[in-house]
């Protein structure tokens, strides 16, 4: 159980800043996910927290204590690696016991704690096998076991599920969430998979190019993304971005024009902007509907993906801007059809040319 806070953390390798001035604080018992594209600095940030790398500047506190320069063991952190890093020459038992034996615990206690951890993780009948004799999911659990026997203040996970196949990953996601509910220990979890982030996190840190884009609950990130990057990263399928021009501004809503003559209202606050500027209109595929009464904008259907419950429609606007919509599963369409789509102005996101979101006036209450 611990709080964690980062103040202006910077990390440079040689001359390149990989982590650029990141500050955030994590509450006691929270499950926080660092998510971002490959190379954005997630692992580096995690390794700084672990004590495997030193930050170039900035302060790092665990439970209010400055821990810069302290060994990982003094920080009370345990880490699960993407590669699992199970020692191949040791059995499952010895792998899990490894951290305990470093501290000269007595034999009975080691045995009791290893067996307890193994029971929690369903590994009891595998204790005397070598890692090479285990399945991917079991290796994963051994790595977690080696972390939980230590009873750490803070768990760090670096993409722990990325080596598992899709169905196992789903199952392990649930197991990890349950483990967190059971242990109530603060956990930091790194992934590049936004589904993992959305499903497991209490709060999500979105990183991009070493910069903290946004820190919030999954629903905040989904409904109130503060930048085009976050809006595009969170949600599946990804948000549509349509280059547009701001043609009318009211107190309650604005009007954007795109793809030639199409117009769309959006309930956002455009304070500080003026008509005529370029903007990006952001629409989630789920918010698009088939227009019935001649309203909406014209879309030519290119490909249909029928998933059963929904049908994903890939099409193009009049000026060939690609657009994706998630429509009803049984919708009667085929490739080449000419359709019209509408969206509720309440659901439309607008981004300025710098990629910043204009504040929404009608976002759902969270």
């Amino acid at each position: 159980m611990a709080t964690l806070s980062l103040h202006s953390i910077v990390k440079a390798f040689g001359k390149t800043d990989v982590i650029k001035d990141i500050s955030l604080s994590v509450e006691d018992g929270e499950f926080v996910v660092f998510v971002g594209p490959s190379g954005c600095g997630k692992s580096t940030l995690l390794r700084i927290i672990a004590g495997l790398e030193d930050q170039t500047s900035g302060e790092l506190r665990i439970d209010g204590q400055e821990v810069t320069g302290k060994e990982p063991i003094e920080r009370g952190v345990a880490m699960v690696f993407q590669s699992y890093a199970l020692y191949p020459h040791l059995t499952v038992f010895d792998n899990i016991a490894f951290p305990l034996r470093l501290k000269k615990n007595n034999k009975q206690e080691v045995k009791a704690r290893v067996e307890a951890a193994a029971a929690t993780l369903n590994l009891t009948d595998r204790l005397h096998h070598k890692p090479s004799e285990l399945s991917g999911g079991q290796r994963q659990r051994v790595a977690i076991g080696r972390a939980i026997v230590r009873d750490p203040k803070l768990f760090l996970f670096d993409e722990p599920l990325s080596n598992l196949d899709a169905s196992l990953r789903g199952a392990m996601r649930v197991e990890l969430s349950e483990l967190h509910q059971q242990l109530k220990t603060t956990m930091i979890y790194v992934t590049h998979d936004q589904v993992e982030a959305m499903t497991m996190a209490d709060r999500i840190v979105v990183l991009n190019g070493g910069i903290l884009e946004q820190f919030g609950t999954p629903m905040e990130l989904y409904h109130n993304p503060q930048s085009r990057f976050v809006a595009g990263f969170i949600g599946q399928p990804g948000m549509n971005f349509i280059p547009a021009t701001l043609i009318d501004m009211g107190a309650e809503q604005i009007t954007a024009q795109f793809a030639g003559q199409a117009t769309q209202n959006a309930r956002v606050d455009a304070k500080g902007h003026s008509t005529g500027v370029s903007i990006d209109v952001g629409i989630r595929p789920d918010d698009l509907k088939l227009a019935t009464d001649g309203a909406g904008f014209a879309v030519r259907v290119r490909v249909l993906e029928r998933l059963g419950a929904s049908t994903i429609v890939y099409g193009n606007l009049a000026d060939d801007t690609p657009i994706c919509a998630a429509l009803d599963g049984l919708v009667k369409l085929q490739a080449g059809d000419q359709i019209a789509l509408t969206v509720d102005p309440d659901a439309v996101h607008v981004f300025d040319t710098g990629g910043r979101a204009l504040p929404r006036l009608a976002a759902p209450a969270l």
Partner: protein, 287 residues
């Protein structure tokens, strides 16, 4: 169709035949001296230089087939030489494993300023001919009062070894860094990381270094010749030399001794072949 899929099948077969022929010739050429040695060890002295040479191990067809072996083992001091060689080679090989595992690990994994220069320096020592260093080496050993003891043959192996350091550095570098990171996070000291994690994983390379050092020291003639005087300290190569001296030339005894002295090397190599190969191939350890 098949012909089109394998247009080179005929050529491949020819290549294979040529390859085997060349390898066969090579095998015969390298094995010939050993076979000759084996045959001669079962001959009577007067048949050794008979012309035309005979390939018949004549003693095998008498009632005292192992006469030469019995003689070196019972009437000469070969047992002592053999024991001395075994001891010196074993200790020197242990020394090499000790020194080069520490050195190789440090060069592979520790952050030391200037370590690449230092490593280059260690490698360079492998290219300095013995003739250049042997006299200073002798003077040092004499200065230490170590002449006519085993120490000059053992102690240097505990200090440095270019080949082993190179080999183990490569091997340690090929093992995943995550193991060390994981152990460090769990509270292991740098020495514990070396001792409990990486050293056990380097076992094949350690065995390879041990075997190679053992063989080299077993075969060593120059240093024992320089540093050892007493008969009871002599090693096998010195003992073999004494069979062919100014006063006598017992070729049959020499060959019997040579056969015996080759046996341990063959046995060690056969027992450890798997590891030695793995040691050379690198640390493809599966997690």
């Amino acid at each position: 169709m098949t012909a089109n899929l394998h247009p080179n099948r005929g050529n491949a077969r020819v290549t294979l035949i040529v390859l085997y022929a060349v390898l066969l010739i090579y095998a015969v050429v390298t094995l010939m001296p050993f076979i000759w040695m084996l045959i001669t060890s079962f001959k009577e002295p007067r048949d050794v230089f008979k012309l035309p040479p005979s390939f018949v191990p004549k003693l095998l067809f008498t009632d005292h087939p192992f006469e030469n072996y019995v003689e070196i083992w019972t009437q000469r001091d070969f047992v002592i030489y053999f024991r001395n060689s075994a001891f010196v080679s074993f200790m020197a090989a242990v020394g090499q494993v000790f020194a080069t595992s520490l050195g190789g690990y440090a060069f592979a994994r520790l952050d030391l300023p200037g370590k690449n220069w230092l490593f280059a320096l260690v490698l360079v020592t492998a290219f300095v001919p013995v003739e250049v260093t042997i006299i200073p080496e002798f003077l040092i050993m004499r200065g230490l009062g170590w002449v006519d003891t085993f120490l000059p043959l053992i102690v240097p192996s505990f200090l440095v070894g270019a080949f082993g350091t190179f080999m183990l550095r490569e091997y340690f570098a090929s093992l995943p860094r995550d193991y060390g990171d994981a152990a460090y996070v769990d509270g292991a000291t740098p020495f514990q990381i070396f001792w409990k994690v990486y050293l056990p994983l380097a076992q094949p390379a350690l065995v390879a270094v041990f075997v190679i050092a053992f063989i080299n020291n077993w075969d060593e003639l120059l240093r024992p010749l320089l540093f050892l005087n007493s008969n009871e300290l002599k090693t096998v190569p010195l003992g073999l030399m004494s069979f062919v001296s100014q006063y006598e030339a017992s070729w049959t005894l020499l060959m019997a001794g040579s056969v015996i002295s080759t046996l341990p090397l063959i046995i060690i190599y056969m027992l450890t072949q798997k590891y030695v190969l793995q040691g050379f191939v690198g640390g493809g350890v599966k997690g």
